[in-house]
Assembly symmetry: C2
Homo-oligomer: 194 residues x 2
């Protein structure tokens, strides 16, 4: 499963530097404009040639994937801390809104989550699974504590996440982000008639 032991040859200093620059720039640009930006644009902003981008990442999709997986794993990594620092309901909602904010500020991530053009769940199932697991744990705890209505599945929550990203993205520019809508969603998740 793991990469061949010999396969990692140390990169030359300039190569390592360029790779990092490309990755950073790609993140910025994909976040701002989504998967649609031309590779040439990323190369230009990173101060390298297009050929350099392709030497480090075999296709545009591979570069996009590297960027998205990084953001996704960052999110996943924050879940245990949230679980430890808050009571179950708060932890779940904190993770939900953190994810929504991340996606609303990152068009590429939002597209990847929603499966628009590039689909995480298809291209990187393991990462998608890690994210679902993290969310699933938080959800289960919150449900056990009565902070989120029973019956909701991780899949429901993922769909809701995609929806909330779309909402907040639609609102980008307006002050306050979701505003009242945040309460609407939260109250709905808690359950209606008790």
């Amino acid at each position: 499963m793991s990469a061949n032991l010999e396969s990692v040859k140390p990169l030359r200093a300039d190569a390592r530097r360029n790779r990092a620059r490309v990755l950073d720039t790609a993140h910025e640009v994909f976040a701002a404009e989504g998967f649609g930006v031309p590779i040439d644009e990323i190369a230009r902003r990173a101060g390298v040639g297009a050929g350099t981008v392709y030497r480090h990442f075999p296709t545009k999709e591979a570069l996009f994937e590297a960027v998205v997986l990084d953001r996704l794993d960052r999110l996943v990594a924050s879940a245990p801390d949230l679980a430890a620092a808050h009571e179950p309901g708060e932890a779940f909602f904190a993770f939900l809104w953190a994810s929504v904010d991340e996606g609303a500020g990152d068009k590429g991530l939002a597209e990847a989550m929603a499966g628009a053009g590039y689909d995480i769940a298809v291209l990187a199932p393991e990462a998608e699974q890690r994210f679902r697991n993290a969310f699933g744990d938080l959800l289960t705890r919150a449900q056990a504590a009565g902070a989120v209505r029973a019956g909701l599945t991780v899949d429901d929550v993922k769909a809701l996440l995609v929806g909330c990203m779309a909402m907040q993205r639609y609102r980008s520019g307006e002050a306050g982000g979701l505003g009242l809508l945040r309460e609407v969603v939260q109250d709905g998740l808690r359950g209606g008639r008790n």
Copy 2:
């Protein structure tokens, strides 16, 4: 404001037929694949040449707009009937879910609503306004009847609509559509703590 009286010259029979075929086909294709489909594809499926499409619609955007406005006005036209036939809360939610279903089954419409690439609110402000007004009336009545929490604006509802379209579209293929999430949203809209 209205078109010059002389400007409407009757089309030849074949031209009228072709125009209709293009419009129907464009609706099907944009609904299935979004704004991204090539014009040639629409022309091919309609059984005409690309030149014919461009004689009837000056640009791809104009064709898209014609299709989207048609669907939007259909939706708007259904609002008064809903208002008359149901009590305020039901009418509002019926319109909301009808709009969501429409957008979930029509990628082009969903894109236009969310402002992805092509934005109704920019390209056809009057149509957007008609839609907002229809939704606004329903919302106001529902709020007056206590079926929807106070404080929500038409803009909130439009954002929610965009979000729900994204949710349901994310779920397309799965049986039951939104399922429990429908109740989540409805309960949230009604208001949490009473």
